[in-house]
Symmetry: C2
């Protein structure tokens, strides 16, 4: 995981984020977790629609997470797995009133599995970057406690709400 994050961090400096983010890379979360640059290119694990806060979500996974999901090895998820959740406010489809579609982008939040490194927070590192400008969420290193508290009902599911969506096996 450290290697992956180091690579992502490196890519931030090497790549297009200077232009994309006004000349500066996306800052790490207040708990020190590096921004997982390039998560928009990760593969899909699931989707969800929360009617309580009226948001649509897509849950993406890095390569380790996708491999774990496709082999059914998600309780526990393996070290190195990273889950990313992109959240949008509900909007109504312009040409299909009965369809809810993504409105404003709310945030992208991540769970990074490293049993040893994040032993104090369920074996996961937790971080969130808000808005299209990806502002780090939280005031200090304890920000993850908010995540852990909400995820406590799924402690027995390795702290993960998401069940990978059923998909046909990849034919290639």
């Amino acid at each position: 995981m450290k290697i992956t994050l180091a690579l992502c961090s490196g890519l931030v400096f090497l790549g297009g984020s200077f232009a994309a983010f006004g000349g500066s890379p996306v800052p790490p979360a207040p708990n020190g977790i590096e921004f997982p640059a390039g998560y928009q290119d990760w593969r899909v694990l699931a989707v969800s629609h929360r009617t309580d806060n009226k948001t649509l979500r897509v849950i993406l996974g890095n390569d380790a997470a996708v491999a774990a999901a496709r082999s059914g090895k998600t309780n526990p998820w393996p070290d190195g797995a990273v889950l990313g959740k992109l959240v949008w406010k509900d909007a109504t489809a312009s040409h299909w009133p009965a369809a809810t579609v993504p409105g404003n982008f709310v945030h992208a939040e991540f769970m990074i599995k490293d049993t040893k490194k994040y032993a104090s927070t369920g074996g996961w590192g937790w971080a969130r970057w808000k808005g299209l400008d990806q502002k780090p969420h939280g005031k200090d290193a304890n920000a993850a406690q908010e995540c852990v508290a909400c995820h406590t009902p799924v402690k027995g599911n390795d702290w993960v709400f998401t069940a990978p969506a059923p998909m046909p096996p990849v034919a290639k």
Copy 2:
């Protein structure tokens, strides 16, 4: 597009689909469109929730489609773009009753942009494979007319219902 489809078709024979699909590759659609093997690895364009037929969807794109979406060049979409929609029946999240999550997998359906090849159907090739065993949908080469009829309200949007979801620019 022909090259891409030929490649996909080739991969079906080269890859794991024999095991995945009981020893035979996924058959083409009745209109001759080849199965886009590996679409599960494509990137996310959007999600949607249809309350009329109680289904959740994720809309994926091949590389050409993702590049078009990220550069805002989607009306028209460029030749070579392929849009894939994965559809699941609604289910309720086991640990979050106010969340709708993917239930049974319904089908994967595709729009393949080739202005010349598919001039008679809006410049798009249309195909659908049903269920986890990916059975081709439709009885004959006219099956696409069903798709075109449903998409006619968005003829002015290059026949596409999906608006790419707003996402932060990729920082890498």
